[in-house]
């Protein structure tokens, strides 16, 4: 069939149902269509707004860093600063971080060096981290006199309270200490730790001079703390090399 024949056929054939025969929609019909679609759209937006008011999902992290400043461990301050910076670099918006030191009596507010829950806005979060880093740096510079005793349990209790307050899904306690507890007389630390859902990371557990003569003591200290943490419902992990933090710790 040639074009001419086709044109002739088309002229004679009925053209009902062809799209070209339909009359174009008028503006009124378009308006009607928009009006019909408007109410479901409005309902959807309202539903979205209501849903937007819901609570954020509980997937935040809370980290507490305990730094032992007793005389046997005071030389490890650079590692504390390094660990603090590492944590600052790792945490995201919505996460919480607190740093405290362990001294003669650690279960007090004055032991907390800095604490912060980071905002989700990147610029604000970065500013908060810089301020946190400055506070930590200022403490490191101020620090000069080590404590005589070492109240680790008091620090752990302080950390537990903070971690519970945050209500975070993941709770981490970083313990930068030689794990040698030396509670001053008159201080009662015979209480349950209550570390349900808390992962305790013992970082850089330094060997003391006395451990050289009796290595069993070092091992017993670690085993004793592991038992205490696990009995209290927590998880225990030891990372002795601070340089291995990236691979050893999986905060997510």
């Amino acid at each position: 069939m040639t074009v001419t024949e086709w044109v002739r056929n088309e002229e004679t054939a009925p053209r009902a149902g062809r799209p070209a025969d339909r009359k174009p929609e008028t503006l009124m019909e378009v308006r009607k269509m928009i009006r019909n679609g408007f109410y479901p759209f409005l309902a959807g937006i309202l539903a979205l707004m209501l849903a937007a008011c819901s609570e954020p999902p509980d997937n935040n992290r809370a980290v507490f860093l305990l730094i032992d400043i007793s005389s046997d461990y005071a030389t490890e301050m650079d590692k504390a600063e390094r660990l603090g910076n590492y944590l600052l670099g790792t945490l995201d918006g919505g996460d919480s971080l607190a740093v405290a030191f362990i001294d003669n009596s650690s279960f007090t507010e004055r032991n907390i060096i800095a604490r912060q829950t980071f905002e989700r806005q990147p610029s604000t979060r970065n500013a908060q981290k810089r301020a946190f880093q400055a506070e930590l740096g200022a403490f490191m510079e101020r620090f000069s006199v080590p404590s005589y005793h070492s109240d680790i349990t008091g620090g752990v209790l302080l950390a537990r309270d903070y971690l519970e307050e945050t209500g975070a899904a993941e709770k981490h306690l970083f313990l930068l200490s030689d794990l040698h507890e030396d509670v001053p007389p008159g201080v009662d630390r015979n209480v349950a730790l209550g570390l349900d859902g808390v992962r305790v990371h013992a970082i850089n557990v330094k060997r003391q001079r006395v451990d050289n003569r009796n290595p069993r003591g070092y091992r017993e200290r670690m085993v004793d703390w592991q038992r205490r943490v696990e009995d209290a419902g927590g998880e225990w992990q030891i990372v002795n090399d601070v340089a291995r933090l990236d691979t050893a710790l999986a905060l997510r």
Partner: protein, 504 residues
Amino acid sequence: MFTDILYIWSDSPALSLAIWMIIAIMLLYMGRPHAHQLLRTTGRALHRALRMGAASIRQLENRLEQRNREVLLAQGRESAERSIEREFQRVNAIVERDLGQYPALHRKLAETLEKIEQDYRDSTDNAPLPPAWAEVMDTVQNLPTSGDPAVNKVLDNIRQVIENSHQQTLKAYQKNLNERHRILGRMQPQWRALGSTMDKVHQTITGLDERARTIDRQMDSYESMRRGDDRAVGTLTSSSLTQFFISGLVLVIAAFGGLINFQLIALPMSEMVGGDAYVGTLPMSDIAALVIIMVEISMGLFLLESLGITRLFPVIGNLDDRVRKRMAIAAFTILVIFATIESSLAYLRDLLVIDQQALQQSLAGGAAIESQFRWIPSIGQLALGFILPFALAFVGIPLESFIHSLRTVLGLLALGLLRAVRVMVRMTGGMADHVSKMLVNLYDLFIMAPLSIERMVRYHRETAVRQAGGEQDGTGPEAVDGEGRHRGAGKPGPADADLAPGRA
């Protein structure tokens, strides 16, 4: 409990089990006709029911196949109509562009021809040189001299006058000849212009001829679709599958583009939106970024639809041209605005990344390093943020192909599924029939002892009856039947199995 029942006959387990087996065999032998009937009727009922089911599925399959065919042909017809329409538009464009100027072209041709004619006339208007001058000159030269000085002088004067006149005439002739050459030379560009114009006309006519041939081919294809030829259906199916895979591939690429776009604006959106608002598990900032991308894609769809490139929304396609033009302008404007916003967001992202890097360096204890070529990624992100929305806007084209070809692919899949189900149902029905036959045989195998006894008894009884009949007829037991075989000499064959009590 089971042990108690087992040892009810004897303390010996073997003996007790044997008694139980004998009882069971006897019971099964007695219930043989009913058991056979139960097994066979169940098998046949299942076979018939499943065969009917398969027939129903076959009908459904045929209906679906027919429907698929109709849809495919309808899509093909629509596509062919669009192609033919486009070809006619091209023909129209050629006619409007080239043949629309035909009056001017014709006028130009007429003017050129008129000029050529005028030149030709001009070249022939002047009278040619009188041809007798050479003869007159020769005659005058050859006149004899009489010796009379007066006559000679007159003749010399006459020669002189004729010579002068000849020279003047020759000059006029040469001048006239030059003028005609000049006129003829002036005609040359006119001829060339005429040739060029005729070439243009030839090209136009040739282009139209090619278009007409293309339209003829498409019309043949269209006619084939209207007739519903199998070849047309096969071609359309193959084309749909190709379209499905190609458009699917392009959509996957577009999805990756969207992912990159999302990564580009998610961080700055968290800076802008911030807060702790969540929808489900997604933060509001991520949703805002997604919404921006979706709106860009939607605007792209509307733009393509308004321009008539895609036909996903018949409402837009049926709108008045003026309204569609306005809609296209509005969609393009919104797209440009969103692209600009995204570009600025990409720049903000770069600033945030720089800040983040500075913080990381500070936390790592190093000094901030000023990179010399840091502006390159900044400009790159800025450009990417502006270009990606436009790139995503074109997703409507593969989307339309994908949606159209998806119907064919789903139809083919459903057809394949129905065929597989039908084959399975038929196989299950056949299996049920065979299993029922197998169970009947197994049943007989279990009670073969009483069945063998029954056959033997029957055989001896029949032999005795036959012998008695033979003696009465006088033929004896060795009588031969009509086919030459010895009657009553054969052993009971497998057909005797049918002489079961139920069938006797």
